[in-house]
């Protein structure tokens, strides 16, 4: 009886260890799987051409990803530019000013914002933001736009990353000892002065990490962007132009990809690029965190 129990414990331990190691390595499996599938195209085309050529003609065997990479960068840039001020101000308000009751009421709402599926954001963008840009914002600038544009994608994405920045920032602010605020307040500083000079300074690495996290979220977001960005494979020259982000490219062409030579390889290379960029952001955010923290401490 006793030995049987111990044996069971030991076996389970081994099994769980294997499972744990396996699950920890999934990210490498994904990278490896995508790399294997993108090797055919990497074998015959130089990587620089694939990444920096603007010519995308799968039937002629030309697979320049540059317009799509730029499309993603534009959309991500606009989204983060909109999201930063709103979400930082909100996070500061909720953690430093708002009454407990307000905090308790808004927290689940912001969680809900994070939980809404991206297609729902997409359908909302199509129904509300796209017409808004077409009928009101573009005429304001004296230009024409179908509404399906960098700006539309940027606005929708910004709303999607609000919860990311707010959540991380509030956590970081909460980790700062109350006594540090008191030290500044006791000198007669106003709350805002305390936040600006002391709390935000202490929280800076966390805020940067929050923004980098939002960047990587926006970078890989697919469905909502696909539905409102317009998807024209050209370099956008203004926020009212359409863009064709990388994830949208992958989704839109899954149908044909097995019938044109190298097409699937090109699209899986695009996924690999997406994965590597997101991994880079994640790891970057950790390094920034450690560095800035060390400097402040």
């Amino acid at each position: 009886m006793q030995t049987k129990r111990l044996l069971k414990d030991k076996l389970a331990s081994k099994f769980m260890l294997i499972l744990t190691v396996f699950s920890g390595l999934v990210v490498f499996f994904i990278a490896f799987g995508l790399y294997q599938r993108s090797r055919p195209i990497l074998a015959i085309k130089p990587l620089t051409e694939l990444l920096f050529s603007t010519s995308w003609h799968p039937l002629r065997g030309e697979f320049g990803l540059f317009p799509f990479i730029m499309g993603t960068l534009w959309v991500t840039g606009v989204a983060v530019a909109i999201a930063i001020p709103f979400s930082l101000l909100t996070a500061i308000y909720l953690s430093e000013y708002a009454h407990k009751i307000i905090r308790e009421w808004t927290a689940p709402l912001i969680d809900l914002l994070a939980g809404i599926p991206s297609v729902i954001y997409g359908i909302w963008g199509v129904l509300v933001i796209v017409p808004l840009i077409k009928d009101h914002i573009a005429p304001l600038w004296g230009t024409f736009s179908t509404g399906y544009s960098v700006l539309a994608a940027g606005i929708v994405l910004a709303i999607m990353v609000f919860p990311v920045i707010i959540h991380v920032t509030i956590e970081v602010f909460r980790s700062i000892p109350h006594e540090l605020r008191d030290a500044s307040l006791a000198l007669g500083a106003t709350r805002w002065q305390t936040i600006k000079h002391v709390v935000a300074r202490k929280a800076l690495p966390g805020i940067i990490a929050a923004i980098v996290l939002a960047l990587s979220r926006a970078f890989g977001e697919t469905m909502a962007v696909l539905m409102v960005a317009g998807n024209v494979a050209k370099l956008p020259s203004s926020v009212l132009d359409p863009a064709y982000p990388l994830p949208a490219l992958i989704v839109n062409n899954y149908g044909e990809m097995l019938s044109v030579p190298l097409y699937d390889s090109a699209l899986l290379l695009a996924s690999l690029v997406l994965l590597l960029v997101v991994l880079f952001f994640n790891i970057l955010s950790r390094i920034i965190l450690i560095r800035v923290e060390r400097r402040i401490q």
Partner: protein, 291 residues
């Protein structure tokens, strides 16, 4: 003592008020975005809801046929998210128990695994879709319910694991020690004490993962395909609510678009229910945790 004298100033009070105003404004904007989104979905979706919508599959092709409903997508989504959640539990629960019961404090494996889950959490769902697709090519599978379940379980298991890990970490060390002191093995402690103590938290983690799984479109578009029919086997393609929205919104036919709105309404309702229930569970859990 020398009093050096400080000027009195009013400027900072003005600055304080300006920023406080901006903060309240931002919070208001962000919350109204949420209300606007939910409002739009309800206004468009509610009129599209009727009995046929939720009891029939589309007639004459989901993209063009004007008749029928979205039962294919409702059932498909439940199958798919249910299956993926089940698979994810099979991976997450042992892994999280291992991390918290079997390993020593400060273990590298624990650090690495948690870090890896955090990174996986940030990997875009389209990448999981693409990865799922490569697995299917490897196994010789075609777009099917099973393919979708595999891709989505990869997508949600890191989320589930991290959420479980957060609650199980809070279980006091003393509780484990008490169990060991009674002669229990680690395995018995893990499955009899830890899981029981953390049950509401584990259920919350499962619900969060389910919610994420049922709402995701990019990971299933390659892997599960889309169909007018209710799948009767794991190897048949399956329709899902998010893709029902995506595909049917794109047609020029108003009746078909109605189906997209109805799908959006149902999906949003599911997400709302999941989030309310998990919130209730979290509340209950934190009530019992000894601080």
């Amino acid at each position: 003592m020398v009093r050096l004298g400080l000027p009195h100033m009013n400027k900072r009070r003005i600055e304080e008020n300006i920023f406080k105003g901006l903060m309240i404004f931002s919070t208001f904007i962000i919350l109204s975005c949420l209300l606007l989104i939910l409002g739009t979905i309800i206004i468009k979706g509610l009129p599209a809801m009727n009995l046929a919508m939720i009891t029939q599959t589309p007639k004459g092709g989901y993209y063009l046929g004007k008749e029928g409903g979205i039962l294919n997508a409702i059932i498909g989504s439940l199958y798919l998210a249910g299956g993926a959640t089940f698979l994810a539990i099979l991976i997450s629960l042992p892994v999280v128990l291992y991390l918290n019961v079997y390993t020593k404090k400060g273990s590298r494996l624990v650090f690495f695994t948690r870090f890896s889950f955090d990174v996986l959490w940030g990997v875009p769902s389209i990448v999981y879709g693409a990865f799922g697709f490569t697995i299917m090519l490897f196994l010789g599978l075609r777009a099917s319910l099973l393919g979708g379940i595999i891709a989505v379980s990869f997508l949600i298991f890191p989320i589930m694991s991290r959420a479980m890990d957060e609650v199980i970490r809070m279980i006091p060390e003393e509780l484990l020690d008490a169990s060991y002191a009674l002669g229990a093995t680690r395995l018995e402690t893990a499955f009899k004490i830890v899981t029981r103590q953390a049950l509401p938290g584990i259920l919350t983690a499962v619900l969060i993962a389910f919610g994420r799984g049922i709402g995701d479109a990019a990971s299933v578009i390659f892997t599960a395909g889309f169909t007018d029919h209710i799948p009767y086997s794991l190897f048949r393609p399956a329709a899902t609510l998010p893709l029902a929205i995506f595909f049917q919104l794109g047609t020029p036919i108003p009746e078909v678009q109605e189906r997209a709105y109805a799908s959006a309404f149902i999906l949003t309702a599911i997400i709302l229910i999941v989030s309310v229930v998990s919130r209730i569970l979290t509340k209950r859990f934190t009530k019992h945790v000894v601080k």
